[in-house]
């Protein structure tokens, strides 16, 4: 029992002893680590160290650095400049950026360079450097720490490639938007023999997106023309698809239907049968010349009525009425008629004109009527003057795109 007891006690003591001794060992171990030989620490640190003269001549390197550049100390110390170990581009960067920054600010941080090994392979590194000055303030030595940045550089290249691709895509998107927009307008300024005609279009914002406005001028017979202008709701590519559909439908229907109201009714049907839920507004004028001059038949679908500008008179709507196209079941459309006199001008515009905003203020109909005045102007003056007023009102950047067309009988 005693033996057993003493045995137990002795076991207990030896447990305590071994605990104490393992504590001591850990302390000694940690102590040894703390007091790690500074030289060994310098030599095998997980980054490259080197010291150069202010001129750049290497005077000291650690083993890590030498391993990375695969060179012996004798090949480096006293005979090689830090810049000599860089790529040509890196060397130029060193001379034009790195060294000036070091001399001006005494330190340089996170400069991306590549070290070139004797076999020509390269090690991407990030470099920090500091300039040590003597007591007289003059540069004494440059201390450089070099970090392996292979993975990081690969990632950065991927980012850079992605950025370049994104920028190229954006340029292409702009070009596509511009090209697509152009297909929604007549390619050249349209002309109608015997009439003066002017047209203008200005995109919203910075022109990166395709707007929904369109206009078209085309003949359907001798001295028989269609002038149309409209607005498909929304913006972007899917709106542009509907805009193209609307333009071509108007052209197709106008060949067989003489009355604008009938063309608009047909267009309304087409939009109802199309899968799009976009609707549109349009003004559609049929211009026919007879022995007495020009007869205008005017139809509208949910669109501001074209205005007749006659010298000495206030502008008057050309007539015609009907709802938005592609929305209501059983929509009906009616035409208005008028005969043009010499000097008369007819103006078509999209809602981007009157709904232009400056802060909380609307451009509005009154401003429109003031701008086009009391007639007597050439269509070009009317279009240019109105577009300028709209742009000035919104300081050059439009919230919504704007299309304007005007034609008139020479006075």
């Amino acid at each position: 029992m005693t033996v057993a007891e003493s045995g137990q006690a002795s076991d207990h003591d030896s447990d305590q002893d071994s605990e104490r001794s393992s504590d001591r060992a850990r302390v000694a171990f940690l102590d040894a680590l703390v007091h790690d030989d500074p030289v060994a620490l310098y030599e095998s640190a997980p980054c490259g160290f080197l010291t150069t003269t202010p001129d750049g001549v290497i005077v000291k390197t650690n083993a890590t650095f030498r391993t990375w550049v695969r060179r012996e100390a004798a090949e480096l110390v006293g005979v090689t400049n830090f810049a000599d170990l860089l790529t040509v581009g890196g060397r130029i960067y060193h001379e034009t950026h790195f060294a000036p920054m070091l001399f001006m600010q005494d330190q340089v941080h996170e400069v991306a360079l590549e070290l070139v090994r004797p076999d020509g392979t390269r090690l991407p590194v990030l470099v920090n450097a500091s300039l040590a000055r003597g007591e007289d303030g003059r540069p004494r030595a440059v201390r450089i720490a070099v970090f392996d940045a292979t993975e990081r550089r690969r990632y950065e290249r991927e980012l850079l490639d992605a950025k370049e691709r994104a920028e190229a895509s954006e340029l292409e998107a702009r070009a596509l938007a511009r090209t697509l927009q152009q297909t929604l307008m007549p390619p050249a300024a349209p002309t109608i023999p015997g009439l003066d005609l002017a047209a203008a279009y200005h995109p919203a914002g910075h022109g990166t997106e395709v707007g929904g406005d369109f206009y078209d001028v085309f003949p359907v017979g001798t001295d028989d023309w269609v002038v149309t202008l409209g607005d498909v709701c929304g913006k972007g590519y899917d709106a542009a698809i509907v805009t193209a559909l609307v333009r071509h439908t108007i052209r197709a229907l106008s060949v067989s239907e003489r009355r604008p109201a009938a063309v608009l009714k047909g267009l309304d049907d087409v939009l109802h049968h199309h899968e799009t839920d976009r609707f549109c507004t349009a003004a559609l004028l049929r211009l026919q010349r007879d022995a007495d001059g020009w007869q205008v038949t005017s139809g509208v679908g949910g669109h501001p009525s074209p205005l007749l500008l006659r010298a000495g008179q206030d502008p008057v709507p050309c007539g015609g009425r009907g709802p938005l196209l592609g929305v209501l079941d059983n929509a009906t459309y009616e035409d208005g008629c008028l005969r043009l006199e010499p000097g008369d001008v007819v103006l078509l515009y999209t809602d981007g004109v009157v709904e232009g905003r400056r802060g909380r203020e609307l451009f509005g109909e009154d401003r429109l009527l003031d701008t086009v005045g009391t007639g007597g102007s050439h269509p070009t003056e009317v279009v240019d003057g109105l577009m300028k007023a709209v742009l000035d009102f919104q300081e050059g950047t439009l919230r919504d795109d704007v299309a304007i067309v005007a034609f008139g009988v020479p006075a």
Binding site: P54, D55, G56, V57, N81, A83, T87, V88, G89, G90, R91, I92, Y93, H94, E95, T96, H97, A99, P100, M101, F103, M104, Q105, D106, Q107, H109, E110, V111, A112, L113, E114, P139, R153, E156, R157, L159, L160, K163
Partner: protein, 271 residues
């Protein structure tokens, strides 16, 4: 065309003293002259400015179509000289701006009393017997190097340049802009710099010229400096006991002394 106003022009020294204009090279800005220019402010009207796209120059002044050759940079030097109504100018150009200075002096020789070309190179790329020190492929390498160092900066991340507590005279403006250029500007300037060839302009220089050449310069080797001095009629070359491409930073005292020895003596006003 950039105006003097857009190029962050700074003028120091007596207004009626002989003017000296310092033009920095590719990479940094007018702060490069910090250790040299003040030494001339006692007896010169010292003018420094930032090249378009560099330092505190108005970003609006940058026009990629215009700055596609050194001629535009030379015109900017002339603009500064004209706008400040300077005459008998001592024109000091570093690196690529040494060549812009040459072009400016050839265009309007009457404006200039002396040229000081620090680390000049009329052509960086080897051509037949001419050794510029670089091959065409090296330029692609430089552009790649620029790209990897402007990566973070170009995406509007703030540049991480440490402030310097020990040297507070290097103000905030310096740490904010020194050696930082819009990446697009830097790329084009690098291309213009390293693809330019101004050798034909050198014999046309009629202004008294000093070439300051470092003993060892990775960008503009001694032979290149010698070529410049040999090609400009009557030019003198001084070989500085310094290495690197920026003796005005690494050996400012030697640089000042060599310039003083060369320039027509103006009695220094005691400080």
């Amino acid at each position: 065309m950039a105006t003097a106003d857009q190029l962050n022009v700074r003028v120091e020294g007596p207004p009626d003293a002989a003017p000296i204009v310092f033009v920095h090279g590719f990479g940094c800005d007018q702060h490069m002259w910090r250790h040299v220019a003040p030494a001339f402010a006692t007896d010169h009207r010292v003018v420094t400015f930032d090249l378009v796209g560099a330092g505190g120059a108005d970003p609006e002044a940058w026009d990629p179509a215009r700055y596609d050759s050194l001629d535009a940079y030379a015109e900017d030097i002339l603009t500064v000289v004209h706008e400040l109504e300077l005459r008998d100018v001592v024109l000091v150009g570093h690196s690529v701006s040494a060549m812009s200075a040459v072009l400016a002096a050839v265009a309007e020789p009457d404006l200039f009393a002396a040229l000081v070309l620090i680390g000049p190179s009329p052509r960086f790329i080897d051509d037949g017997d001419y050794r510029g020190g670089f091959g065409k492929a090296d330029i692609a390498d430089l552009l790649a190097s620029l790209d990897s160092n402007y990566l973070g900066w170009s995406t509007a991340m703030a540049p991480v340049i440490m402030g310097n507590a020990e040297r507070p005279e290097l103000g905030e403006e310096l740490t904010a802009s020194f050696c930082r250029m819009d990446p697009e500007v830097a790329r084009q300037f690098a291309r213009v710099t390293f693809l330019s060839d101004c050798r034909d302009a050198l014999p046309a220089v009629t202004t008294p010229t000093l070439v300051l050449q470092c003993r060892q310069d990775a960008i503009a080797p001694v032979e290149v400096g010698q070529y410049v001095a040999d090609s400009i009629p009557g030019a003198r070359m001084v070989l500085l006991d310094a290495t690197g491409h920026c003796p005005h930073l690494s050996a400012p005292d030697d640089t000042i002394r060599a310039m003083r020895d060369f320039l027509p003596s103006t009695e220094p006003v005691p400080a």
